[in-house]
């Protein structure tokens, strides 16, 4: 090999790297946040928002927004990211449609609906969160499927002045989170599930198991913990929780998990699935095995998905809430914070369009964090199939 070709073999890659760096290094020092890193130079973007979005959990001082309910109104368009756990569980597009409705009412553009396609992938949301920060959106609405793994990206967003409003499933440590829009009180969820279990199992109680989503899902974990607390009370003594398994919100895995439960616990009478994917999978599994007479299925389910199982008697009762409303409310809250009409603090009250008045309070179900509590459960059964 001649000296020239040898040199160009070395130079080649170096030139390419240099080219790429030159091409990509256009605007240095702008909105630069290395994921998970706190040293950015972009904090000046929306300073007031940045200050108010630090976790205000410990603060008990009532702010200027306390008392008087602020009506959130249109104040120009904002860019926002709507980031559910994953994109192909039916409830999430429903929530998004609520968010779109809200955006239209407020005269804003619809938020970008993005998320991992694989519901079982607990790290998939990290990339979207990071990208949203790079894009410099004005608000992020997140349903957390990643437990603590989103702490760092969420903090990065907060540091960049972007309010992170969680809905459906919060960030457990409330790191980087402005406020959590809770569909129902998480402790109440435990109560509702326990009561449904008792209704189905009857007065003499019995064995039941839980089929949950991913092990990192903040909402399911909170509900299960709440349910276990309720089960410890004397009223629910004869209800025995034999096992909790995880179906990862993936249909096939959930079916396998349900079948596993049946096999390992011959005395099982009920499968409680606090996830719309799990409940359908469990019902389908029982149907396939012809076990609907002996083993019932309940939990949180979408009426339109559960219709055939209600008819066949596999799922005598289950509950849910309106995801459309939840998305709607989450957007209003995010918009309000982004446009500085409300401040994410305890005691702040506001009016969110057609849903009425709400107040930000401390979240009693977590150690830190603020919460907006949306509303009631809807229970579905044969008389009220909800379709």
């Amino acid at each position: 090999m001649t000296a020239i070709t040898r040199r160009s073999r070395v130079l080649g890659p170096l030139v390419v790297v240099a080219l790429v760096v030159a091409a990509c290094g256009g605007d240095t020092g702008e909105t630069t946040t290395t994921a998970g890193e706190a040293t950015t130079t972009a904090a000046e973007a929306t300073t007031t928002a940045a200050e108010t979005t630090t976790s205000a959990a410990a603060e008990t001082t009532t702010s200027a927004a306390g008392g008087e309910a602020v009506e959130i109104t249109g104040d120009g368009a904002i860019t926002a990211t709507f980031l559910p756990k994953c994109t192909n569980i039916a409830v999430f597009p429903q929530a998004n449609s609520g968010a779109e409705e809200a955006a239209a009412e407020l005269g804003s553009d619809p938020a970008e609906f993005v998320g991992p396609a694989d519901c079982g992938d607990s790290t998939g949301q990290i990339e979207f969160m990071t990208n949203a920060v790079t894009q410099g959106v004005q608000a992020i609405m997140l349903s957390n499927n990643s437990g603590d793994q989103l702490d760092a990206p969420a903090q990065a967003a907060a540091d960049a002045g972007i309010p992170v409003v969680t809905w459906d499933s919060p960030i457990p440590s409330a790191t980087g989170e402005s406020v959590f829009v809770a569909q129902v009180d998480f402790d109440e969820t435990g109560q509702v599930m326990a009561e449904m279990a008792r209704t189905i199992l009857g007065d003499d109680g019995g064995e039941f198991a839980i089929l949950s989503a991913t092990p990192d899902a903040a909402n399911q974990n909170a509900w299960i913990a709440a349910m276990e607390e309720v089960l410890a009370t004397p009223e629910f003594e004869n209800l025995v929780l034999v096992e909790t398994v995880y179906g990862n919100d993936v249909a096939e895995d959930s079916v396998t998990a349900a079948l596993g439960l049946v096999d390992s616990h011959p005395g099982l009478e009920l499968i409680m699935a606090p996830t719309t994917v799990g409940i359908v999978a469990a019902a389908q599994a029982m149907e396939q095995e012809g076990l609907c007479e002996t083993i019932k299925v309940s939990g949180l389910g979408l009426p339109e998905e559960m219709a055939p199982y209600v008819e066949s008697g596999c799922a005598p009762e289950f509950a849910l809430w309106s995801f459309v409303d939840l998305g709607y409310l989450a957007y209003y809250v995010a918009y309000g914070i982004a446009t500085e009409q409300i401040v994410a603090e305890e005691g702040a009250a506001f009016v969110a369009g057609r849903m009425g008045e709400y107040e930000i309070t401390a979240d009693p179900t977590r150690e830190a964090g603020l919460r907006v509590l949306m509303g009631p459960f809807s229970k579905y059964n044969a008389e009220n199939p909800g379709t």
Partner: protein
């Protein structure tokens, strides 16, 4: 010409001891053995209910193992079967939701969809000259993308499907003491038997093995290699499509990620069933037995109380390894025997036969 040599060798007494038969018998024996072991470990194992569960569950993997085997015989691979299952399941589900047709039409639709997708693979591999692993890695992604775009994030709901779909897996042809012989299982077995027969008896079957055994020699011998490879991919796609139909019947609700990951299972089942990844040997029956074994193991391990479900995959990995090692050892043993017999037979015929024998005998037995 190759047949005469094979026949001569067969007549020389090793007919029943052909490697394929031994492998299949061994696998059958291992399955029986594990059933016995599990029956000891698990209470109520030998029940009708479990038998029914295994037979319905194994259907999908069987069809996919058959699809994979078909392609592996010619020394290719099809990593896109999982995506084909997803597309077929979803499209068939949509079709049924819209038209409410019956099972036969639905199976046809699914199979045709699969065949069309398979033909894309076939075109690229056979006529585009792109290695199968690259093509199918690409189509694995592409087919999934097309499905994702088509579905627009919506699922096919169980409630939208005609009622016969949800019960389809339970349709029983006849029952013996609680052990139901289910329609879907019978369909899968029939498909396997059909393919086994075709590959063993029909000329194109032998040719596919020949291509896998020694591609350049096969071409030089004048075999229409490109066309055969193309059709093998179409076949594999069709089988995957049918598997998609079964998937839909089993799953009820179908999302755009349906079938993801099945391709690896299909390769594993085929390999455990004695199909050599290098092509040119193995049988459909073997692939079927491989699928049965893996599925039985998966479903049984879950029930052994001492063994947590998480051991399942670890065992599976060890199992595949053991199966392949066993296969290689057996093959080496039998190749030596086979070559000795074939040589004897050769020496009793003329020169042309020798040349042909060398071409055909180079790598694995082609006869089933």
């Amino acid at each position: 010409m190759t047949e005469t040599i094979a026949e001569k060798a067969a007549q020389s007494g090793t007919r029943f001891l052909r490697p394929e038969r031994v492998k299949e018998a061994t696998l059958l024996g291992i399955i029986a053995l594990s059933v016995v072991v599990f029956a000891f470990l698990i209470e109520g194992y030998l029940s009708g209910r479990f038998f029914n569960r295994v037979t319905t569950s194994v259907v999908i993997v069987t069809l996919l193992a058959a699809a994979q085997a078909l392609v592996i015989f010619s020394r290719n691979i099809d990593l896109s079967v999982g995506s084909i299952v997803g597309v077929a399941a979803y499209l068939t589900g949509d079709f049924l939701a819209a038209t409410g047709q019956g099972p036969i039409v639905a199976m046809l639709v699914a199979t045709v969809v699969g065949a069309i997708l398979g033909s894309v693979n076939g075109l690229l591999v056979a006529y585009g000259g792109v290695p199968a692993i690259i093509v199918t890695l690409g189509t694995l992604a592409l087919f999934r993308t097309l499905l994702s775009i088509y579905s627009e994030g919506a699922n096919v709901l169980a409630g939208d499907l005609p009622p016969w779909v949800l019960d389809f897996n339970n349709v029983t042809l006849f029952t013996i003491a609680g052990f139901e012989v289910r329609l879907v299982f019978v369909i899968a077995v029939l498909v396997v038997l059909l393919l086994q027969f075709a590959l063993a008896r029909l000329r194109w079957g032998r040719r596919i093995y020949a291509i896998g055994s020694n591609p350049s020699a096969a071409v030089q011998a004048g075999l229409p290699a490109a066309s055969l490879v193309f059709w093998s991919f179409v076949g594999s796609g069709a089988l995957a499509g049918l598997a998609g139909f079964m998937f839909m019947a089993r799953a009820g609700t179908i999302s755009a990620t349906a079938g993801a990951g099945l391709e690896l299972e299909s390769v594993a089942a085929a390999v455990v069933g004695g199909v050599s990844i290098l092509g040119g040997s193995g049988t459909m029956l073997g692939a079927f037995l491989g699928a049965v074994f893996i599925d039985t193991l998966k479903l049984s391990l879950v029930r052994v109380p001492e063994v947590s479900e998480f051991w399942r995959d670890a065992f599976l990995g060890i199992l595949i390894l053991a199966a392949v090692i066993l296969d290689t050892l057996l093959r080496n043993r039998f190749n030596r025997r086979w070559s000795a017999e074939a040589r004897k037979a050769m020496e009793s015929s003329g020169p042309t036969a020798v040349g042909m024998a060398r071409v055909a005998g180079g790598g694995g037995t082609a006869d089933a």
